[in-house]
Amino acid sequence: MSSFTASNSSLERSSSTMETRETIRIESASVRYRVPQEYIGTFKEYMILRIKGKIKHNTFWALKDVSLNVSRGEVFGLIGPNGAGKSTLLKLIARVLRPTEGRVLVKGKVAPLLEIGAGFHPELTGRENIYLNGSMLGFTRREMDEKFQEIVDFAELWDFIDAPLRTYSSGMWARLGFAVATDVDPQVLIVDEILSVGDEAFQRKSLARIQSFHDQGVTILLVSHNMGVIQTMCQRAAWLDHGRLKAIGDTKEVIEAYRQSQPE
């Protein structure tokens, strides 16, 4: 079942170049969260406990020894119960987190569709937010000038683009977020449970856009609890549980194994 090859990281560490087809390579990556056993809110308390040597941490491995490779143009699914480490894995790839152990290699620009619209400001207009959000994704003002019209067209917000975002409905908010986040010509697209935003027509449009990214050879990482979506869109999938990789390989087989493990 588990068809992944445990990569010998000590050997591969010497070469920082990746194979041509590879877009993402994760070598036995682990992420450790250290949570103090009790909440220490004040500096004074901390210093007292520190001096007494009484600060105890619960170490908790959000990811443990996960290795996987994703090739260019692949649509790769991530499944698993809540708290399995799926989002942590995406954060490693999106450069938000650095692995405690192991190594992460990513080729090209990553567009994270994590909780889209997160950087929006309600008092700014749609137009201002497009530029703000674009700059958060690493684009210059000039690059955003070129993208601007396309973003407005995709989000279908022509009449509202100069209104403050607080006047937008949640659907409009999500449409704008999706439009900005996907108009970035990424090499890697991270899609974390966003296919539930907007109305049905917009969902279809979003799926179509993801499909067209796939046609253009963009590598896509898809996280979803909807097995139907994973099944139809992904060639390969990985199943994570408690931070460990339970299975990786053909989507159908991985889903099958995952389902069997779930209590009815």
Binding site: A29, G41, Y46, R95, V96, L97, V104, L105, A118, L132
Partner: protein
């Protein structure tokens, strides 16, 4: 679509964090501009007078302080108390507001760091940028007050941008340090406000340094770094002369030291922020 950006991100390959953060901040300079824009635009967006508050705020403070203190203390030696207090306030407000904003933006706005990669120093840099915009605007009422109260504006005013820049670098250093601490101990945010109040009274802002007894005066001029920066700010405007070398070097030395230490510690710790915010 041809792949245009083939840069490889490698979590194992690290340049020194301080340098990496510097390069990334430069690469994301448009983000910093956009954040400054956002802060300036949204601060007074819902108020009727809008951006005019940037000018009215220090004027109001000056008025209150002038009414409260000029009669009680009888600062005979100070020509135009309003201009004296306003020039000091502008420098102090810059310092206190930008360092607070750097900290608050990171701790409260830091949710963004959990979702996408942006250089962690962006928030502090944007706070400084916003402060610079506000401070530049506030020069207008200062000149107005000087003109009305008969303080001559001299050529030395061309040095003011340098003073502002030095103050900005110092505030950035302090802002980064206090942000780092606040990530680990949220209570520091509240404590810092009290500290700032005490700090302000330990700096000759609303009173002239001449009224201090000699012992305290030496303490303050030797141990309070902000004293030198406020002085550097006041010299080209209120005092109407260029700073002497002995007035310049303490301010510069402290600023370079604080900025380097602040940046270094912040960058070194910044990878851990995501785990804590």
């Amino acid at each position: 679509m041809p792949p245009t950006d083939e840069a490889i991100y490698d979590s194992a390959r690290r340049s020194p964090p301080a340098i990496e953060e510097l390069l990334e901040a430069f690469r994301y300079r448009d983000l910093i501009t956009q954040l400054v824009r956002r802060d300036v635009l949204t601060r007074y967006k819902r108020s009727v007078l809008g951006i005019a508050w940037t000018l009215l705020n220090p004027l109001g403070m000056m008025l209150v302080l002038t009414l409260a203190f000029s009669q009680i203390f009888k600062f005979g030696a100070v020509p135009s108390y309003p201009a004296y207090v306003l020039s000091g306030l502008l420098a102090w407000n810059f310092f206190s507001q930008t360092t607070t904003a750097a900290m608050v933006n990171l701790v409260w706005g830091g949710g963004l760091l959990n979702r996408i990669y942006i250089p962690r120093a962006s928030f502090a840099l944007a706070a400084i940028g916003t402060g610079l915009v506000n401070n530049t605007l506030a020069i207008v009422p200062l000149l107005l007050v000087m003109w009305v109260t008969g303080v001559p504006v001299k050529l030395s005013i061309i040095f003011l941008p340098v003073s502002m820049l030095v103050l900005a670098c110092f505030s950035l250093g302090v802002g980064l340090l206090i942000s780092t601490i606040a990530v680990y101990f949220p209570d520091v945010a509240e404590m810092y406000q009290i500290l700032l109040t005490a700090w302000m009274y330990l700096t000759p802002i609303i009173y002239p340094e001449e009224i201090l007894p000699d012992a305290y005066r030496l303490l303050i001029t030797n141990l309070n770094p902000v004293y030198h920066l406020v002085k550097l700010y006041r010299l080209p405007v209120y005092y109407g002369r260029f700073p002497s070398l002995s007035e310049l070097w303490p301010a510069l030395t402290i600023t370079i030291l604080v900025l380097m230490v602040g940046w270094w510690i912040f960058a070194k710790k910044s990878d851990e922020f995501v785990y804590r915010i």
